[in-house]
């Protein structure tokens, strides 16, 4: 009897185990956690959820309820866009695709247990983790500046309140005052961004404060679309903009956010606004996850997987991937390659070969738009460029206007590809 009972219990347990298996499997759909809801993360979450049609459980962790795009935030400074027009919510991702959108900070990654810890205390298990955390700033990159000084000297390199603050400061400048920018060293988010910003600030000042000056301290010998920007600055803002490159001490800078001074190679300049864009590194969670090397997270080009952990993928600005610029367009492009690969790994769907593209539009003045772009492929070592183009100097007004119109179309396109 004892024996029989034990045997019965044993077989019951075994049967229960067999019966439970499909249920566990049904509940245990493969889990993808995406950290960061920008061009990389939102796109990856949307494509995985959409294309797997419920076969993969997708959680998107993003602290902000409204995401303000960094791209086009310079156009807000210039008065071409409202801040509201740059804001996007995650409502459709949750409602239309069933993505579990969690507004919280990711503060830990346990790569052995495959869990993500949130600031609110929750723990999220994953089969694949996608990190798209954007950028943070390198401590001590600009002498005298730290994030505690970001109200006196805004970086405005994460869009939102910082951008609004910078614009308010520009509008409050005394007549004939000086707007200073400390430009970042390579590599950094949005290579033409600082110079488009200079253009937009110049456009604003031309109307409100035409005797004002713009002073750029730049550690780089050259920069993206340089010929196009310099041509435009001469045409639209003659005599307003001075750039100090590394030959004249542009890399040797210090700021005093209390005295409002910018020192370039020991020469102290009193300034009215100082936009400090420090050296950048991958968003902090990449470092916490232990997948960075130097400032960035190295990845395999074929699927954007971390070179240090095959279950983690890194997208966008945070990734060290090779030749692509750090841009929203690049992150969006990488996200689709990654989504296809992750879906294939978790559900067996077809994995197509990686291919990438990027185009960056910049606005120099009203209806004076320029662009640069390239296509890329995955090699064993890196994402390698295939072909590219850049707007030419001396283009007609019609071409420049069409380029600007096209950039507006692109903006609508990419945010639709991320959020709709």
């Amino acid at each position: 009897m004892e024996f029989n009972r034990r045997a019965f219990l044993g077989s019951a347990a075994a049967t229960a185990g067999v019966l439970a298996a499909p249920m566990v499997r049904a509940q245990g759909k493969p889990r993808v956690v995406v950290i960061g809801g920008g061009a990389g993360g939102a796109t990856a979450a949307r494509y995985i959820a959409k294309d797997s049609a419920g076969a993969i459980d997708v959680t998107l962790v993003e602290p902000s309820r409204t995401y303000y795009t960094c791209y086009f935030s310079n156009l807000y400074l210039g008065g071409f866009r409202t801040m509201e027009s740059l804001g996007h919510s995650y409502g459709t991702l949750a409602a239309a695709y069933g993505i579990n959108v969690v507004h919280d900070w990711a503060i830990g990654v346990d790569r052995d247990a495959k869990t993500v810890t949130l600031a609110g205390g929750a723990s999220l298990p994953y089969d694949r983790l996608i990190l798209s955390p954007g950028i943070d700033f390198v401590d001590g990159a600009v002498e005298g500046w730290g994030v505690s000084a970001q109200n006196a000297m805004p970086h405005a390199y994460k869009a939102g309140s910082q951008t609004e603050l910078l614009k308010a400061q520009v509008l409050a400048m005394p007549q004939g005052g000086t707007f200073a920018m400390v430009a970042p060293p390579n590599p950094y988010r949005c290579p033409p961004g600082p110079y488009e910003r200079v253009s937009m600030v110049a456009h604003l000042l031309k109307q409100t404060n035409p005797t004002a000056k713009i002073l750029i301290a730049d550690p780089k010998e050259s920069f993206s679309k340089q010929g196009l920007f310099e041509e435009g600055w001469n045409a639209h803002y003659a005599g307003m903009i001075e750039r100090v490159g590394p030959d004249f001490g542009g890399a040797v800078v210090a700021v005093d956010p209390v005295a409002m001074t910018l020192s370039i190679d020991g020469v102290v300049n009193s300034v009215d606004v100082c936009n400090v864009i420090p050296a950048m590194k991958a968003g902090r969670i990449a470092e916490i996850a232990g997948i960075t090397e130097g400032n960035w997270a190295p990845v395999n080009a074929a699927d954007m997987s971390s070179k240090m952990d095959e279950n983690i993928h890194v997208l966008g600005d945070a990734a060290a991937q090779g030749d692509m610029p750090k841009s929203g367009f690049s992150a969006n492009s990488q996200a689709k390659v990654c989504a296809n690969a992750v879906r294939g790994a978790l559900t067996g769907s077809t994995i197509f070969p990686a291919r990438f593209a990027n185009t960056c539009w910049s606005l120099i003045a009203p209806n004076d738009g320029v662009k640069v772009g390239a296509t890329y492929e995955a090699t064993d070592e890196k994402i390698a460029s295939v072909a590219g183009f850049v707007s030419a100097t001396g283009e007609s007004d019609e071409v420049r206007q069409a380029t600007y119109q096209e950039s507006i179309g692109w903006y609508d396109g990419i945010v639709s590809d991320m959020f709709s």
Partner: protein, 231 residues
């Protein structure tokens, strides 16, 4: 001569005061080249990327049978929009002003005389399509010829859907578009022809030349199959 007579006759019967201000259908024909990469008009004209424009005057909006109109155009049609001189003039001046999310990716003709001329040209193909003035034309502007064997390639829509990720960073999948045109619901052959025209540099846009430049014939066919299939 025959065309001119027909034109005059139409003007008399239609009694359109504005037409009498002197629309020049020959200039209209030149202006129509901008339209003809999407629209056909004349004998044998059929729907392509846009609907054919024979008998467009007094036609109800959204009425070319079998053509997939945008939702907004369907709404406008349901609301009773009729293409008469005034509504056509307003649509050609600013398409999205009249039908906000039309798939017609055309910025509009701001110049009033241009519109008068263009509508004078189009009017020749209305009211009596059996008497279309030119025997040959179908007015389609052939910009590029693609070999029949390339057009015959059957693409894989699943591969096309993956490849479309390269398109949807700019072109909206819902068919909306301003500054960057919509590319959904194009007839497959038109899509393939346009992409090959970019690939070989006949069409002049640098981004599109770059994107099309590395697509194989099979990849273009796959994209065409996908974009034709989605709603």
């Amino acid at each position: 001569m025959r065309g001119r007579l027909l034109f005059t006759a139409l003007m008399l019967t239609a009694g359109l005061a504005r037409g009498e201000t002197g629309g020049d259908p020959e200039n209209g024909q030149r202006l129509f080249k901008q339209c003809s990469s999407c629209h056909q008009v004349g004998q044998g004209a059929v729907d392509r990327i846009g609907p054919h424009l024979n008998d467009i005057f007094d036609r109800a909006a959204g009425a070319s049978e079998g053509f997939k109109y945008s939702q907004d155009m369907q709404h406008a049609a349901a609301g009773g929009l009729i293409w008469d001189y005034d509504t056509l003039d307003s649509f050609v001046e600013n398409p999205r002003g009249l039908v906000s999310r039309t798939r017609m990716a055309f910025r509009g003709l701001p110049d009033e005389q241009d519109r008068v001329d263009l509508l004078a040209y189009l009017r020749q193909f209305s009211a009596n399509p059996a008497n279309i003035p030119d025997a040959t034309p179908a007015a389609a502007f052939v910009e590029h010829d693609v070999a029949p064997e390339i057009l015959a390639i059957v693409g894989d829509p699943a591969y096309g859907e993956y490849l479309s990720g390269e398109c949807t960073s700019c072109h909206q999948i819902n068919g909306a578009g301003d500054g960057i045109p919509a590319i959904t619901n194009w007839p497959k052959d038109d899509f393939v022809t346009a992409m090959h025209a970019y690939k070989v540099g006949v069409r002049a846009h640098p981004v599109m030349q770059m994107m099309a430049g590395r697509l194989s014939d099979e990849e273009i066919a796959s994209l065409a199959a996908y974009f034709e299939s989605i709603q």
